[in-house]
Amino acid sequence: MRRRTFLHMAALGAGALAFPRRASGFGDTARLVVGQIQHGGRWNPRPTALRRLCWELMQRTSIEAGNDAVPVRLASPRLHRHPMLYLSGDGAMPAFSEPELAALRRHLQYGGFLLVDAADGSDGSGFDASARRELARLLPTSPLARIAREHVIYKSFYLLDHQGGRLLVKPWLEGQVIGGRLAVVYTQNDLAGAWARGELGDWEYDCSPGGEPQRETAFRLGVNIAMYALCTDYKDDAVHLPFIMKRRS
């Protein structure tokens, strides 16, 4: 066994031990298992990112997360097993077929959630252009719009007032709404790039221009997004408002 392989397996084993199995009796349906959409382009440019996010969710919150994301195809009959979907890419992405778009649209309309993350830091080209094109086809009546700073997604767990990610291409998130609920959240800042961590525990990418604080914000944003997917506007309930306003002041 080579030294690198040994270290790889040891790191995986340590990670497995760190995951408590509180929800083991009910299987994966009791946990947040993100479905990562497979498409015709480079659909998984940050293979370790979502595993790390799941680990952070388990460490920081009461969310029971799966070990890692599960690759799904939009045409898959088990798409609805994963109410939270993740779409990423590095470079241009081929267009979805109409049946794929219809399946994704139905998923979102019945309560699903989609996080779109541009890994290539593109703006107007590459994955950004592809994602905007497909999202416009997906929900033509709800165009992508900037998510207001006051939105509950910035307070669903952490109180956030700035963005995180490997880059800061856009200092905001964009979203598409169905029935008053954010169904799609889109970031161009390569959140997964900030989350990605190698098998030996080293971060795979530097975060710029903010460095490690920007990475921490990326994790916090990831936690908030996952919390929003699971609790929607819970933190907009009246009982929370005095506490949140006091801490924001």
């Binding site: 349906t29 609805h80 997917a229 929607t232």
Partner: protein, 764 residues
């Protein structure tokens, strides 16, 4: 038959030609005369012109006469007597005095009839005289009885209905009404309650006979009445409601009147009204906020003053159903999950639900960072499980354990939650790794209210389970996804299987628990594991859903083209059942009317459903009227029919507010109880307003071209009658007059004379 049998005649034409041919022939005749006149214009001698023109005209007329074939039609006719109806008001308002301190109006009417019966019978030579008494209906009456000074008893006055009723008799008797004499105080409380509207005036005109209206009563006696109460049929609990009462006061000077609104004896609102001379009606708003749900009798009351004509109309009762404005639900989740996510979304979008949520977002072992950078709030255990608990209509635990939060000491509040349910609250526990036995609820006070036995150690099963309906689940409102047993079973079997169960043991029916959905593939103590179970606990209800994937019935079902309706329907059903939605109670009382008139029985239907929510046919039903002081004042028994409904009539002892308490009993089933409320009015419409309305009678008389008079009076007023109608009996005989020979001879003579004279006078 001899011609003497005919008493009338008229001219008729026997010509076979149609009218238009005859018209053309007439034009031709006129043309012939015109041509003669034109040809004679050059004749200087006037006598010649006149002679020739006269002969031509005579020829034309004779020709026309022969073509028309005139005849004399002999007829046998007879003159038929029409009817005169005398209508006497027999409604209770006729018991009021003609004027303050005077004799009753009914007595004045009887005196008039006694004095003038002969005058009326004198009309018998021209018309057939008919006598009627009327109130709500009109009925023939003996004139001798009408002339007796008996108290009137009718509960309503319908003047127009009475007139139309007697007029309708024309169709059956073949004799028209020549007129009507109406003796009444005019206090109509039916179609003419608001006066003679243009439409009503047209109806009176359409009767087509003159009405002699004789008004009894000239002045209103002193009286204070709660004339009207305007309020909706239902109100929302804890929301302010305004009852608009209308007082009517006659014969009062400047006085102050207290007005109270009582709910079954207890005053809930009051106001004061300052009476003013000359003003009769006063609107009194009475506002209050009902504090409990249910059906109650409310009463608006004013004091009875000395000298009032009617004491009973000083109160007026009504029934009000107080309902929740929104169902207040406490949703507590042990951690964020998809089950919580979809249940919260469903409850949040329901406008009838006021949702308060508390989710545990972080445990003690989680390392989230500094508290001030989080949006988390302290879990207000004491507030929601202590002081606020009773404000919730239902409490739902979704995968929530009480143990991990030692500092919060939630265990201390579990007895309170148990008592809250026993006293009428509702509780639901939804599965997960922190629920039921996994949440260590077995040895806690919550086990006393849970619908399943949840001992530690039974564990969970991660395998997919396809639940099936039990016999009770097929009819229970919680598990009705589609109407009809077959469609409902198909709806359940079409749903995707759930992923994992908390293993629990079913309780027995003796505990009031009923398994509605079970997992046949998973056995606990040899029996299928419960999936959905309900239980009646004291006055409250509880529900167990032993899976954490009920969201599969919505989100996963949607992927399979079934939509998410099953998830919505199940939880809506469950919530409605938990909070005792009146439409889902096993026993329902439906009074025919929320308020009955004095003397009428309280008629009601009691609908019983069995424990399986099927029709409770054969159930022994007992209903009791309970007065405000808690005494049973009337009782009725019955047996529910095949539809589960029993019809009962209870005779109230008098006016007032009553609770209707019903119970239904079937062998082997628990006794079900229900309550409703009815009001027995102290005064009906006849007693509510003691004022006579002579102006209405005058308007009716004028509209019908009749006459109006008032009582008391000495003489008989003028009674107008429509002309008697001549009715043809039907025998007739045609006697031709055109076929006399001399008509033809005359025509030949005139034509020949004109021809001869024209030749002699050179007109060729």
């Amino acid at each position: 038959m001899p011609d003497a049998a005919y008493n009338a005649w008229r001219l008729a034409s026997l010509s076979p030609f149609p009218r238009w041919v005859l018209a053309l022939l007439a034009l031709a005749a006129a043309g012939a005369v015109a041509l003669a006149w034109r040809g004679l214009r050059g004749e200087p001698r006037r006598e010649r012109r006149l002679a020739l023109l006269g002969l031509r005209t005579a020829s034309a007329l004779l020709a026309l006469f022969l073509l028309l074939e005139p005849a004399v039609q002999l007829l046998q006719t007879a003159r038929v007597k029409n009817r005169l109806a005398v209508l006497v008001d027999r409604s209770r308002s006729m018991n009021f005095p003609v004027e303050p301190g005077g004799e009753p109006r009914a007595a004045a009417a009887a005196s008039f009839l006694s004095d003038h019966r002969q005058d009326l019978e004198a009309f018998s030579e021209r018309v057939n005289l008919e006598w009627y008494g009327f109130d709500r209906d009109v009925a023939p009456a003996d004139p001798g009885t009408l002339a007796e000074k008996l108290p009137a008893r009718g509960g309503r006055t319908d003047l127009l209905g009475a007139l139309k009723g007697v007029a309708a008799g024309s169709a059956t008797s073949g004799r028209r009404l020549a007129g009507a004499v109406v003796i009444s105080d005019g206090a109509d409380n039916a179609a003419l309650a608001e006066g003679l509207s243009p439409a009503a005036r047209a109806e009176v005109r359409a009767l087509a006979f003159p009405i002699t209206a004789i008004a009894v009563g000239s002045a209103a006696p002193r009286d204070l009445a709660v004339e009207r109460v305007a309020v909706d049929d239902f109100a929302f609990v804890r929301n302010t409601l305004t009852v608009e009462a209308t007082l009517q006061a006659r014969g009062f000077s400047r006085e102050e009147v207290p007005v109270v609104l009582r709910r079954e004896g207890a005053i809930v609102a009051q106001a004061k009204v300052h009476l003013e001379p000359g003003k009769e009606r006063y609107a009194v708003p009475l506002s209050f906020a009902p504090d409990t749900t249910g059906t109650f009798v409310f009463t608006v009351a004013v004091p009875v003053f000395p000298g009032e004509a009617v004491a009973e109309n000083n109160t007026r009762s009504f029934v009000l159903r107080v309902i929740r404005d929104r169902v207040r639900v406490l949703l507590v989740a042990g951690r964020p999950s998809w089950d919580e996510r979809f249940l919260r979304a469903l409850l949040k979008q329901d406008p009838n639900v006021d949702l308060v949520s508390f989710f545990i977002l972080r445990t003690a072992s989680d390392n989230s960072g500094p508290q001030e950078e989080l949006s988390l709030i302290p879990f207000p255990v004491a507030e929601i499980f202590g002081e606020q608990l009773r404000t919730f209509d239902a409490v739902i635990f979704v995968n929530f354990a009480y143990q991990p939060y030692r500092s919060l000491d939630i265990e201390r509040y579990l007895p309170g939650i148990r008592d809250y349910v026993r006293n009428g609250g509702a509780f639901a526990m939804v599965g997960g790794e922190q629920s039921f036995g996994e949440g260590h609820y077995g040895p806690t006070p919550l086990q006393d209210i849970l619908p399943v036995e949840a001992p530690e150690g039974l564990g969970t099963t991660p395998e997919e389970v396809r639940p099936r309906l039990t016999a009770e689940g097929r009819r229970h409102p919680v598990t009705i996804l589609a109407a009809g047993e077959g469609p409902n079973e198909r709806a359940w079997s079409a749903l995707p299987p759930v992923a994992g169960l908390n293993l629990t043991a079913p309780l027995g029916p003796e505990d009031g628990a009923r398994v509605l959905l079970e997992a046949p593939s998973v056995l606990v103590r040899g029996r299928p594991a419960p999936v959905v179970v309900v239980r009646e606990v004291g006055s409250g209800r509880s529900l167990a859903v032993t899976t954490d994937s009920s969201w599969f019935w919505g989100f996963l079902a949607a992927e399979e083209g079934l939509g998410n309706r099953a998830h919505q329907r199940f939880w809506n059903n469950a919530l409605r059942w938990l909070v005792r939605d009146p439409d889902l109670t096993p026993l329902q009382i439906r009074p025919d009317r929320p308020a009955v008139e004095p003397g009428e029985p309280v008629a009601l239907s009691v609908a019983a459903r069995g424990p399986d929510y099927g029709p409770g046919s054969g159930a022994k039903v007992v209903a009791e009227l309970v007065s405000e002081d808690g005494k049973v004042v009337a009782r009725g028994e019955g047996v529910a029919g095949a539809d589960g409904v029993a019809r009962l009539e209870l005779q109230p002892p008098g006016p007032g507010a009553y609770k209707v308490v019903a119970s239904a009993e079937r062998p082997g089933a628990p006794v079900e109880r229900a309550a409703a409320a009815v009001a027995v009015r102290a005064s009906g419409p006849e007693d509510a307003d003691a004022a006579p309305r002579p102006e209405l009678l005058r308007a009716i008389a004028e509209a019908s071209d009749g006459t109006f008079a008032t009582l008391p009076r000495r003489g008989m007023p003028e009674v107008k009658l429509a002309d008697p109608e001549v009715v043809e009996v039907g025998r007739r005989k045609d006697v031709p007059i055109w076929d006399r020979a001399w008509f033809l001879a005359g025509l030949c003579l005139t034509l020949g004379a004109e021809w001869v004279l024209r030749r002699r006078w050179g007109f060729w």
